[in-house]
């Protein structure tokens, strides 16, 4: 008897549950009628606007990114902090450091003695921008650039920070900034890659760069950055074989194309047409690339402008010159990396050498774009992956010191392409450790860069693994204060 009661109770519960479940499923079914995409996996069209078009009128058409790989010290370049000189060898107050994590390299250090710049600072231009004495040429163009002193990032070590800066994520395999732009805007010059990468090595302590930094990630591989070689022939295998003239090549390609066309008639495979187009593009590159690398039309004093090492392939100066030529020819994104900015020790010796390598050529690039009427449509960006600490790493002496990684604030500059010229944006505290006004996160910088190129960072998406990815992921705000 008891058992039957129990069963009855159970049955009621089960019936009750099933009844409720049916109601719930019924409602869900009703709801699904109003959600056309729920069960068929989406409509496929991910973009409101076709690719290759801007979302609104762009201010810049092209970007040259002068990446200073290894993280140059903001305290010896653009963020002038005289207090650090006054407080030489005194400990960094706990209240300033807060709970900031430090790297394994200084975590075991007994104290954090403050150290100021060994190099003097002066104000330049109508803007009165502070620039250190080791950048005399950049100092001359301060009225053309916008110094941002409050860039901050998330990672504290080189590889993740570098990857984060280039792709918007610390983990690898997301598309690089240049790939996103190539994807969003397409190529301006179909005879050249839309995204080119140029590498150079400085004389300071260096950090590696890897091809994952210019990866297309999940985007189509045509958007991958093309690394140029640091030799006389930046792109290999473009010359005709010895004894073959351009006319021979043309005839050969024409005949090959007609054979391919016959094959297409037989099989109808569209890849055959793609192949014909690829051959044609390679043929056009044979004239387009020498056009770009040819400097015979330019005056001799271009060498005086960029410095004489601009004639030695693989130097920063020659990469700047090549970047200008590529950009002028319509390459959407030219990415330079200059290694050697990781001054954990010997900062006093290495920093001037590094500055000497980049100072003249960086300034020359701005001047050169300007005198051709291209600066207004070309965005130039100069900076590294994070900043450096205001305290000394290792042994502090009168002659020498080092600085560890500091992601909380650092300085970069931008020029041209719709950026306000001759301003300093944002402020750090007098220790140069924390931001006190107008912070600019890397995501914000990405959003702003896309904005200047006429793209809405929230709309430039690509659906992969079931979600829409963006360069700025779910973050980023355009910084109106630096837009002209």
């Amino acid at each position: 008897m008891e058992k039957e009661f129990l069963e009855r109770g159970l049955n009621i519960n089960r019936r009750h549950f099933l009844g409720k479940a049916a109601l719930g499923v019924g409602s869900a079914a009703l709801g699904s009628l109003m959600i056309p995409d729920l069960l068929n996996g989406g409509s496929g069209s991910e973009n409101e606007l076709p690719l290759g078009f801007t979302h609104f009128a762009p201010k810049a058409k092209r970007i040259i990114f002068l990446f200073q790989n290894g993280a140059p010290s903001q305290l010896e370049s653009f963020d002038y902090k005289p207090l650090l000189n006054e407080m030489y060898d005194q400990d960094l107050p706990e209240s300033v450091r807060g709970n900031q994590r430090v790297t394994g390299m200084t975590a075991n250090q007994e104290r954090f003695p403050l150290v100021g710049s060994q190099f003097g600072f002066k104000q330049y231009g109508q803007s009165g921008t502070w620039v250190s004495d080791i950048f005399p040429n950049i100092a001359k163009i301060t009225d053309d650039i916008c110094v941002i002193k409050t860039i901050h990032t998330e990672a504290i070590n080189h590889d993740p920070a570098l990857t984060f800066f280039q792709t918007g994520a610390q983990v690898g395999n997301r598309p690089s900034m240049g790939s996103w732009l190539s994807y969003g805007l397409g190529s301006e010059n179909k005879n050249l890659p839309a995204f080119c990468v140029l590498l150079s090595k400085g004389r300071g302590n260096g950090q590696g760069v890897y091809s994952k930094l210019w990866t297309n990630g999940f985007l189509d591989s045509v958007h991958q950055g093309v690394q140029f070689s640091a030799s006389e022939d930046p792109i290999l295998y473009l010359n005709n074989p010895e004894g073959h003239s351009s006319e021979d090549r043309r005839k050969m390609l024409d005949n090959l194309a007609s054979l391919n066309e016959m094959s297409y008639q037989d099989f109808g495979d569209p890849e055959i047409h793609t192949k014909i187009q690829q051959y044609e593009m390679a043929y056009r590159m044979q004239t387009a690339v020498p056009d770009v690398t040819d400097i015979s039309k330019e005056p001799d004093h271009i060498v005086k402008m960029y410095g004489s090492d601009c004639m030695v392939p693989g130097t920063y100066a020659s990469n700047c010159l090549l970047a200008r030529k590529l950009s002028e020819a319509g390459v959407r994104f030219v990415q330079l990396y200059h290694q050697g900015w990781d001054q954990h020790g010997s900062l006093a010796q290495e920093m001037p050498l590094q500055a000497e390598d980049v100072d003249r050529a960086s300034a020359a690039l701005i001047t050169d774009l300007k005198q051709r009427g291209l600066l207004d449509e070309t965005l130039v960006i100069w900076g590294g992956e994070f900043g450096r600490t205001n305290y000394c790493q290792g042994k502090l002496t009168k002659e020498n010191y080092g600085r560890d990684h500091h992601p909380r604030c650092y300085s970069m500059w931008m020029a041209g392409g719709g950026v306000k010229a001759g301003i300093s944006y944002g402020e750090t505290d007098e220790f140069g450790y924390n931001i006190v006004k107008d912070p600019v996160h890397i995501h914000d910088l990405h959003a702003t860069i896309l904005h200047l190129m006429g793209l809405d960072h929230e709309k430039l998406t690509y659906k992969y693994l079931g979600r829409r990815f963006r360069l700025t992921d779910v973050h980023g705000k355009v910084v109106p204060g630096i837009i002209a």
Binding site: G19, K20, L23, G24, G26, S27, A28, L30, G31, S32, M34, I35, P36, D37, L38, L49, F53, T54, H55, F56, A57, P58, K61, E188, N189, K190, N191, E280, M281, R284, T287, A288, D291, D294, K297, E298, P299, D300, H301, V303, K304, M305, G307, S308, D309, M311, V312, E328, A329, G330, A364, T367, D368, K370, Q371, R372, G373, G454
Partner: protein, 729 residues
């Protein structure tokens, strides 16, 4: 179980399920037209739950005044009513929120409180028998409904509606006394319609650039009929589906927003009174509310406004080819940018073919095009051109004045052309703002004179003759450091007019050293030192090239032990590829690394081997990689690979003072005219690195790059004697 309770409770449950799933997939929800009226009933239905819950709370507060049984009945009945209407209201509200124009923060607060209260109501229905839980949840729901109601009212009346009479209002820059027509509606028409309906271009015979013309209407009659929105052309055409042929503005052009259209519609409905102003309207008047919403809407970034028409998208697409890029500036701008690509590939047709979009082209970049003055015949057709880039073209400048017809031209780039100041004088474009004249024959004085007339002349970089910059060092042409006596050794410098002085005896070159004028030949190993100088520059640093003779090149070479790990260089041919390993590349690229095995290579000199006097190899040192001097080396010889005999064994010593870090060294065996087809060279890594080493006590590795065979001992400057620390055994 009470029948009513069961029915209501189940209904609430299913409505909640529906609401939940819709909320989860909110982004994808599409409300069919027939459901929209249900959503719009939200503002009516919402009064029920408010009324009911007030009653319900009252009943509970004054519970002691009622009979126990009566209270139970009233309470349950009211509860079911409240819960059901609450959930229904929430669902309707959700539908309404999907209509356009509801995106504010206030909406979001209102929505989520409403949703929360709905769930709480179901909770109440289930637990209404547990008195304590019930009462407090009830009061919480009451508070929730009041707050949700407040924000809901904020949505329709403005969030400051309640407090407005108490606090002073913020000042409004907008002039409320100006008629709605001129202050609000005309600006909308100007931004969205006047592009095609103006004095120059009156599509459909409609010109709305002035008020009188606006009244006249177009070929289908006047734009509006006062009080009758349905017969008003303006409303009717704008309300057609986007794909409809008669929809205005046409597809692809900036559309009227919902609020703009509603505002105009409401104004017509009210009688199209041209004198009515916001000041004369009641604040709850629909027109007033719409005007407020329109004024508070975010204004789009104002770009330059163009009055010319959009070019056909297919036409623009068809004009693109590998030598010409043609793009519309932005989806809402008819302006077109053109860039000509390629220097030698330029043809005048690339410009001539742009005739079809000559009105739309506002920027034309043809820098470097191989074109002369004939281009001016083509350029005059682009009446709306604002930016023109002729940098480094072959124009003479004589015909610059033919650009005077381009009234909109703002920026002209002439860098690197032959133009002169007198030619620039001829240029009389009214709008011109910037002229780029860097690298032209013009002098700085002339540039200054023209600048004084108000045009911004950009002369660019002017070299400072007094500034002295260091030259880079000379380069070794081809970079080949392994040579034969026939090879031409060439020094070069990329900067024209540079003088190179050099020595080949190991001494430092100075102003008395030989001037390099022609390629050099050497039949021995040589150390070449050189520097460059030029008038107006500082001399370069001295550069040193150590050149090594190739000697007899083996036909083939074979490695007996594999390289360790990733240090594989370019395989066995690394040993005879004539490229000296760069110390900077250690331990990668052209270096073969051995840690666990000795290095052993058999070289084949052919079946008629020459008499050999010296066999050598070079190795690299890198403390960080534990790449060290070999502990010992052996040389074997024979005419069959299987039958080799040991010719020599040598021990080497790794001394700190004699081996700087990251250097490379030659090691050699002296022979007495031995004639073998096969030689086997072996080198053994040190078992323990010395005391002073960074990795002291650990096993060392060896890194090998090239092997050499010489018929006679290389001559002066041969590096194989200098660093030899070997002693025969």
């Amino acid at each position: 179980m009470d029948r009513l309770e069961r029915i209501v409770s189940n209904s609430i449950f299913s409505l909640l399920c529906l609401l939940t799933i819709l909320l989860v997939f909110e982004e994808k929800v599409f409300i069919p037209l027939w459901l929209q009226p249900i959503g719009r009933m939200h503002p009516m239905i919402l009064h029920f739950p408010i009324g009911f819950i007030v009653l319900l709370v009252m009943a509970n507060v004054f519970r002691s005044q009622l009979q126990e049984e009566a209270f139970e009945k009233v309470n349950k009945f009211l509860l079911l009513l409240t819960a059901f209407t609450t959930v229904l209201t929430a669902l309707m509200g959700f539908f309404l929120s999907l209509e356009e124009g509801y995106t504010s923060e206030v909406l979001s607060i209102h929505k989520w409180i409403g949703v929360g209260v709905s769930y709480l109501m179901y909770f109440l229905v289930i637990f209404h028998r547990k008195k304590i839980i019930y009462r407090w949840s009830l009061y919480a729901s009451f508070v929730g409904i009041v707050i949700a109601g407040h924000f809901g009212a904020g949505l329709t009346h403005g969030i400051n509606f309640l407090t407005e009479p108490i606090f002073a209002k913020e000042e409004e820059p907008f002039d409320k006394n100006e008629p709605v027509l001129t202050s609000l509606i005309l600006p909308i028409l100007e931004s969205k319609c006047v592009n095609c309906h103006n004095a120059e271009k009156h599509k459909g015979e409609l010109d709305i650039s002035t008020l009188e013309k606006l009244h006249a209407g177009g070929k289908n009659g006047p734009l509006w009929m006062a009080g009758n929105t349905d017969s008003s052309q303006l409303i009717a055409r704008a309300s057609l589906p986007l794909d409809h042929k008669k929809h205005m503005p046409p597809k692809g052009k900036p559309q009227l927003t919902e609020v703009e259209l509603s505002l105009i519609r409401e104004w017509i409905r009210k009688g199209a009174d041209e004198t009515i102003s916001l000041a004369g309207l009641d604040k709850q008047d629909t027109l007033f509310v719409l005007a407020q919403r329109h004024l508070s809407a975010e204004k789009p970034v104002a770009g330059p406004q163009y009055t010319f028409d959009f070019a056909d998208a297919d036409l623009i697409e068809s004009l693109n080819n590998p030598y010409r890029t043609v793009v519309q500036k932005a989806p809402n701008s008819p302006a077109v940018d053109v860039k000509i690509l390629g220097r030698q590939t330029f043809k005048i047709e690339l410009i001539a073919e742009l005739k079809a979009i000559k009105d739309q082209v506002v920027s034309l970049d043809m820098a470097y095009a191989q074109v002369g003055d004939e281009v001016f015949d083509q350029l005059t057709q682009f009446q709306n051109l604002e930016e023109l880039n002729l940098n480094f073209t072959n124009i003479s400048g004589d015909r610059l004045s033919s650009l005077n017809g381009l009234k909109k031209l703002k920026s002209l780039s002439l860098s690197g052309t032959a133009i002169t100041a007198s030619m620039l004088e001829e240029l009389k474009n009214p709008e011109i703002e910037e002229l780029f004249v860097w690298n032209t024959p013009m002098s700085q004085d002339e540039i200054k004179q023209i600048s004084d007339k108000g045009i911004k002349l950009i002369s660019g970089f002017v070299p400072d003759e007094r500034e002295m910059l260091p030259l880079t060092a000379p380069l070794l042409a081809g970079g080949k450091k392994i040579i034969t006596p026939q090879d031409q050794v060439e020094l070069m410098h990329k900067i024209k007019g540079v003088t190179i002085r050099y020595t080949d005896d190991g001494s430092d070159p100075d102003s008395t050293s030989n001037v390099y004028s022609q390629p050099l030949n050497y039949d021995g190993n040589i150390t070449l030192k050189a520097y460059a100088y030029k008038e107006g520059w500082l001399g370069s640093d001295t550069v040193t090239f150590k050149l090594v003779q190739r000697g007899v090149k083996p036909r083939d070479v074979e490695l007996l032990y594999p390289t360790t790990g990733i240090f594989k260089g370019k395989g066995k041919l690394t040993l005879i590829d004539d490229e000296v390993g760069n110390v900077r590349d250690l331990p990668y690229f052209s270096w073969l690394g051995f840690y666990n095995t000795p290095f052993a290579a058999i070289a084949d000199l052919g079946d008629d081997p020459p008499a050999i006097q010296v066999v050598a190899f070079n190795y690299g040192i890198d403390q960080g990689q534990k790449a060290a001097v070999p502990a010992s080396a052996e040389l074997w010889g024979g005419n069959s690979k299987d039958d080799l005999k040991l010719l020599q064994t040598k021990k080497l010593f790794y001394k700190k003072e004699e081996f700087r870090d990251r250097t490379s060294h030659m090691f050699s065996f002296d022979l007495d005219n031995s004639k073998y087809r096969y030689y086997k060279i072996m080198a053994y890594p040190m078992e323990q690195l010395p005391e002073w080493h960074r990795h002291k006590g650990k096993k060392a590795g060896i890194f090998i790059d090239q092997i050499f065979f010489y018929k006679e001992r290389p001559k002066a400057g041969s590096p194989n004697n200098k660093k030899l620390i070997a002693q025969g055994t």
